[in-house]
Symmetry: C2
Subunit: 310 residues, 2 copies
């Protein structure tokens, strides 16, 4: 079940269209050139999580691509319309199939898309899509994932000197991200951590990288959560950022890379974190186990509690 709501100046709350029928022009530059941006967020019991972080990042991506996009309030009304229609259709209930994830209640995926519009027109095309989360994501966050390190081809300093590479923007041009995932799957892995050509840890194709160290016991226990620094040309992670806020409040120390692969192998736990799958513990990287299953499970449980409260 999928609900589609197009943003349309003639419809203040968005225009619902039949998701079973064609809704895009074949000349739309989103389809012909991947020229556009998107966000994916989780809604739990009909309420989108971290909506302001996602709308802020959408605006930042739009700026990188010189796209003029609708105002946050317009998005919020269209998202509300779509989630209401989704609930009316029976989505998000316990019977809907997406319920009971790490975040608590019934889950739905809310995707925002903006393209540069139809060739020759100056108006962007913008829509909200609501659908059930993929079952595979729930299993991966419960069972963990095996990951390959793959070269992203860029060095970690290129983002600043070459803004036309759009490295901090979440564009529709995801063919390389999808190809990297296919490469991992055909080599028996579930996901990918990209490295830069100068050997830095970057991000997953659809996620941010986290690692943790835990030392000591009881009152003297120290837990440290680390993620690659943004200036290496990665996407700012909305989930990583929200979790860092919660972890800091809960007494964790925080750190920001540069990180190299050896830092991942030395960690007590590594995760890929993203808005839909949430926290996916990494069992193996390039076939080497990360930490021990007991420590991974304990730290994952602790962070999942923090995520549920964000």
């Amino acid at each position: 079940m999928t609900v589609l709501v197009f943003l349309d100046p003639a419809f203040a709350d968005g225009r619902i269209v039949d998701a079973g029928k064609p809704a895009l022009m074949a000349t739309d530059q989103g389809a012909t050139r991947g020229d556009g941006i998107f966000e994916s967020m989780l809604a739990v019991d009909g309420k989108p999580r971290k909506i302001h972080r996602h709308l802020d990042r959408l605006a930042s991506s739009a700026q990188s691509l010189e796209l003029t996009i609708p105002e946050p309030e317009v998005w919020q009304r269209a998202i509300a319309t779509a989630l209401a229609a989704f609930a009316d259709d029976g989505g998000g209930g316990a019977a809907g199939g997406g319920g009971g994830g790490a975040a608590g209640g019934a889950e739905a995926v809310v995707k925002l898309v903006v393209t540069r519009g139809v060739e020759g027109s100056s108006a962007p095309t913008a829509w909200v899509q609501v659908s059930l989360p993929p079952e595979a994501g729930r299993l991966q966050r419960e069972n963990g994932i095996d990951v390959l390190l793959l070269d992203r081809g860029y060095d970690s300093t290129v983002a600043e000197r070459a803004p036309w590479l759009l490295l901090g923007a979440k564009t529709l041009s995801y063919a390389v991200n999808m190809a990297a995932l296919r490469h991992a799957h055909s080599n028996g892995a579930d996901d990918v951590i990209f490295t830069s050509s100068d050997g830095r840890v970057l991000e997953g194709p659809t996620s941010s990288v986290l690692l943790a160290h835990a030392e000591g016991e009881g009152g003297t226990r120290v837990r440290r959560l680390i993620t690659p620094a943004l200036d290496s040309g990665i996407l700012p992670g909305t989930s990583q950022s929200a979790l860092f806020g919660a972890a800091k409040a809960a007494g964790w120390e925080l750190g920001y890379g540069p990180l190299v692969p050896e830092d991942l192998f030395d960690a007590d736990a590594v995760w890929l974190i993203s808005s839909i799958r949430l926290l996916a513990p990494v069992n193996h990287i390039d076939g080497r186990e990360i930490g021990t299953s007991d420590v991974r499970a304990a730290l994952t449980a602790e962070l999942n509690e923090l995520i549920a409260a964000t």
Copy 2:
């Protein structure tokens, strides 16, 4: 005026759809992830140029992306359907506006697109689009262009070691190519030549790079045509390849990079060559004039004759 023909197993010659109405599902992975491939070729007087080179490259791109696409015969029938409908609509005639280019008769752009299809489906979406060529291209091939050198971020050896970067495939994920062109336009230039992070000349965002040297006069005259080698991770150019065949037959010496920017500045002429705009002489690169306008014009005229005969 645009004609759209979808490839559809139920229609042997393709299914004509109304180009003024939505024809794509909003969940098509071409639109949501730039996950697909394309080709653009010129048709002159209703006849596509270099169709086999384009269908061969489409098949090669499909292999890189692990996409199963329709057979060449199916494409050829759909292209014939689309060109016939375009002619019936008055396209391609002298009054159509696209006539009289370097290639001779009335021109049309034939675009082939294949996406990974709708999310969750295993069938690709494939269509043919026929439209008039942009007027800007004709002016640029007549008047020449100013170009900026921009860093593509990849080093020239990455293509071979990282096939998931899809460097030899013509994918729908063109957001970076479009951003580089916007960057050039906002800096007073018309187009871009990408360089690798290790300083090699690569290609334009939508074209191949050529340079020429001419020495001597009359019977002892030597003309040399050079293009970057394919192993630097560039797209194999169908127009470059066709022109090289014709130039060799006409007595030109041929050469293949590695090339560095200084080779461009030292050349007697530089061009960006592509299937729709054809041969665009480069007047300036980063503000420095290439050769002299007389020599550029003479060599351009010579190569345009060869192109018209291919």
